[in-house]
Symmetry: C2
Subunit: 96 residues, 2 copies
DNA sequence: GCATTCTGCAATTCGGGGGTTGCATGTTTG
DNA sequence: CAAACATGCAACCCCCGAATTGCAGAATGC
């Protein structure tokens, strides 16, 4: 999923501290600018990040809109894990 | 992770209803026997399944041992999601 | 004994995710 | 204007997980 990657969360939290461009992020992170751009594209698709051009650079910042949905989605995923857990427990009852 | 695959859970729950061999499972599932064997190997490594040979076939059945650990692991993962969710919320406060 | 049925092994394919590199284009700035 | 810096685009690479196919070797059942 879009939110499974650790680097993605890293980028996101950095943007939380301060909006930045892909190049700026690239200076701090151990991966190439292009790699970062791709992460940002994913984050933008998911609605967690917004970009606006300012002069020659494109600044990204985390976005509050749709946050509810994201949160709900995370909770849904959490619920899914719980369901699986239930399955495991049910299996446990009928086995060694 | 080992538990992320949907087919794996499917196999596991089928075994929960009744222990079976890889070939037997292959008759019911849309994938090849070999694919199933590989899933079963993974499940065995994780400790969710046990196999014992009976005649010419190898019967697999779900295993209760180590179930606690698995459950705890699932809960840990759930907690991780919760953490991420917290991050999202924190980000939300300081943004649009 | 012989066909059937199951397992085990190995090679291979396929697709996706994360990364990199090179180059062209656009914007600043001195 | 020209150098410097940022972006955009495209081609590639590598690795991994899931799955397939083909074939050899055992056990079973008539």
């Amino acid at each position: 999923m879009a939110l499974a990657d650790e680097t993605r969360w890293d980028i996101l939290s950095r943007l939380g501290e301060q909006p930045a461009s892909a190049s700026a992020l690239a200076r701090d992170l151990p991966i190439s600018r292009q790699a970062i751009v791709k992460h940002l594209e994913v984050l933008r698709e998911v609605g967690l990040v917004e970009s606006h051009r300012r002069g020659r650079e494109v600044v990204y910042e985390p976005l509050g809109h749709r946050l509810d949905e994201i949160a709900r989605e995370l909770e849904r995923i959490g619920a899914e894990w719980t369901r699986q857990l239930g399955l495991v427990k049910r299996l446990a009852e009928g086995t060694t």
